[in-house]
């Protein structure tokens, strides 16, 4: 689960990482009030779960409350890489002397947390890594031994920070960031930029924070932060129905059981010349009711022209899937969708017979995954 800047900063504050004072606002008027309360110039920042908001005009300096209201009006409703701005973070403006970068991520390859630090902050870290790799200090932490003070020293001295007061402040932030990373089950905590003010104060000017979904049960307060308006509305609906669904931009609806087979099915549809409309994993259980829910989710996407069921039964029983398809056809308006069905594995024959016995013209059985994909692509083309 990705957090908004203001949420990540809330977590930073909890572990003692310095951030600027700020207020949330969802209307230009609230932005004005926030600026009044904060006093002095403020920065009006779009809260969106994507990068590049600065270039897209989502971050603006405002000299006074009236200006804050005007800038808020500009930014609210902006579409930034497909994310519409509903929320603003109004923050006291900071003078910036230098911009650094600090992050800790989950290094899956090394199976260890990885710190990265550079004094070349304020730009994308990938760019630093590519153009000036020596300026980027990378350091792993042993997950059992945990954080040790030398880690902070290696980052700070290795990164070339020379001022002793800065060294000390950054070392403290490094240790606290590790605590945030572990305590909040984070997969990523990034501070970019980590700024030094003209007065020599170091603080986090932005936050990028990703929490492990599997760890959320330990953090009910963070789990409540999930913003249904942030995701695609169909994905939000899918989450409510407990259906694993990712929207793509095509016209062939895809259902499979299992994530790997699901990804492969999407690929094979593309390989057959089609454009998959989604990724959808029925999951291990694959009850008839689950099939109805998944079809309800998929058909919310108005682009869908045909549907391809690709089931390889293991725990999932093909007869159950077949019953689910028939139940959905009764309960939902499925008249627009030809359905291609490929069943194999557990109880596949029974499943095929159930569908055949239903004698419906809109159900198209196919014997293999590849043939099924081809047929679904063909039918989507015919329906377009």
């Amino acid at each position: 689960m990705d957090l908004y800047e203001y949420q990540g900063k809330d977590l930073f504050r909890r572990v003692g990482i310095p951030v600027s004072a700020g207020r949330l606002a969802t209307t230009p008027e609230e932005a004005r009030t926030a600026a009044e309360e904060l006093g002095g110039p403020v920065v009006v920042k779009a809260q969106v779960l994507t990068g590049g908001r600065g270039k897209a005009g989502g971050v603006k300096l405002a000299d006074d409350p009236a200006d804050a209201e005007a800038k808020a009006r500009d930014i609210l409703g902006l579409d930034i890489r497909g994310h519409v701005v509903h929320t603003l973070w109004i923050e006291k403006a900071s003078d910036i002397e230098r911009e650094y970068y600090l992050s800790i991520t989950f290094d899956r390859g090394a199976k260890k947390p990885l710190f990265m630090f550079t004094t070349q902050g304020g730009v994308e870290i990938e760019q630093v890594a590519e153009e000036n790799p020596d300026a980027l200090v990378r350091l792993h932490v042993d997950p059992l031994a945990g954080f040790q003070p030398w880690v902070a020293r290696r980052l700070v001295y290795g990164g070339g920070v020379e001022d002793p007061s800065e060294q000390k402040q950054i070392a403290a932030i490094v240790e606290r960031l590790y605590r945030a990373f572990v305590e909040f089950d984070a997969m990523l905590c990034e501070i970019n930029p980590l700024i030094v003010t003209p007065e020599g104060e170091v603080k986090a000017l932005d936050s990028k924070f990703t929490v492990d979904d599997s760890g959320l049960f330990r953090h009910p307060d963070i789990a409540e932060w999930r913003d249904p308006t942030a995701a695609d509305p169909i994905e939000t609906f899918a989450r409510e129905k407990h259906v694993t669904y990712v929207k793509l931009d095509g016209d062939v609806g895809v259902l499979a059981n299992g994530a790997g087979l699901g990804m492969s099915t999407v690929d094979v549809v593309a390989h057959a010349g089609g454009r998959p409309a989604n990724f959808c994993d029925l999951g291990g259980g694959g009850s008839a009711e689950g099939v109805v829910d998944a079809l309800e989710v998929i058909t919310r996407d108005e682009q869908v022209r045909s549907i391809f069921f690709n089931i390889f039964g293991g725990i999932t029983r093909c007869d159950e899937v077949a019953r689910g398809i028939l139940a959905a056809l009764e309960r939902l308006d499925m008249s627009r969708y030809p359905i291609v069905v490929r069943l194999d594995g557990t109880n596949a024959e029974e499943g095929r017979r159930i569908l055949a016995d239903a004698g419906r013209e809109d159900i198209h059985p196919e014997a293999t995954m590849l043939d099924g994909a081809r047929r679904a692509v063909e039918l989507a083309g015919a329906a377009a």
Partner: protein, 289 residues
């Protein structure tokens, strides 16, 4: 021979008295796996269709000679079950449970790797050595014994490829589902090493997917250490960046972890990558002739 599971496997199921543990545990036994014990705290002394249940894994080791643990307990208790198995001296741990917090697995991984335990999973379908033993949820009936080693991050995709192989008359030494989480107990490299050392395995099929860099590492490892032919399939060419595709580990971050990148890394090391499961199976058949 085969790897991880064989005729010497003595299986204990953690969570045998739960509905999933019972269903799959007994299914594994019906296949011929030597299921010697179950573990459920507080239910020691009971039995599940004749399989004795113990309070602790240590008891299952001492009293029933268990050497392999299959974990079916809920996510919040699964990591504890892993530690318990490792500390009881279990050499092979297979964990089916999904949604284990990544930080918990990170610590557990560092711990059991230091102990030399073979761990498969979590969030995996398990391991099947056809004709010998099955531990997990892989539908054994669609596989037959043979010379193809199969290792995969995914369950159903493995069945799909295994099924295509079976239809071409090819069998498997062992099928290993390493799991789709960000931190899994055994990587492709770990399993490749075992297949390379296994006399029964003649050819290896590696089934990868987007996310992480384990496929890239596997490619490098194969080039240096594997003498047997290796073929591959990668899922997720159509996946958009930044979205997890069902598995917590299946996510493209920035420019890393893409299917295309993995395909290129594999091909650069001389490992042919099939475009569809069907094509991979055909490629295997050609090599095995």
């Amino acid at each position: 021979m085969a790897i991880i599971l064989d005729n010497d496997t003595r299986l204990v199921v953690a969570g045998l008295t739960g509905s999933e543990g019972r269903f799959h545990g007994l299914r594994n036994r019906a296949y011929g796996t030597n299921l010697v014990a179950g573990v459920t705290p507080g239910k020691g002394g009971q039995d599940v269709e004749g399989v004795p249940v113990f309070d602790t894994v240590a008891d299952a080791v001492t009293e029933a000679g268990a050497n392999t643990s299959l974990i079916f307990v809920p996510a919040r208790f699964a990591v504890d079950a892993i530690y318990e198995a490792v500390d009881a001296g279990i050499g092979t741990v297979i964990c089916i449970t999904e949604h284990i917090p990544a930080h918990d697995m990170l610590r557990a991984y560092t711990y059991f790797r230091g102990k030399g335990t073979t761990m498969i999973g979590p969030n995996c379908p398990g391991v099947l050595s056809p004709g010998k033993a099955n531990a997990g949820i892989i539908p054994a009936e669609i596989f037959s014994e043979g010379g193809v080693g199969l290792v995969s991050r995914s369950g159903t995709l493995t069945y799909q490829i295994g099924h295509e192989l079976t239809q071409l008359g090819l069998g498997n030494s062992t099928i290993v589902g390493i799991g789709g989480d960000p931190v899994v107990g055994s990587s492709f490299v770990d399993v490749l090493e075992k297949f390379e050392a296994d006399a029964q395995t003649e050819l290896i099929v590696l089934v990868g997917e987007i996310g992480g860099d384990e496929e890239e590492k596997a490619a490098a490892y194969v080039a240096e250490h594997v003498t047997k032919p290796v073929l591959a399939y990668i899922a997720g060419f159509s996946a958009p960046p930044g979205k997890t595709m069902g598995h917590a580990g299946a996510i493209i971050s920035g420019s890393s972890g893409t299917a295309q990148g993995k395909k290129e890394a594999l091909e650069a090391r001389g490992i042919a990558v099939g475009t569809t499961p069907t094509e991979v199976a055909q490629m295997v058949a050609e090599r095995m002739e």
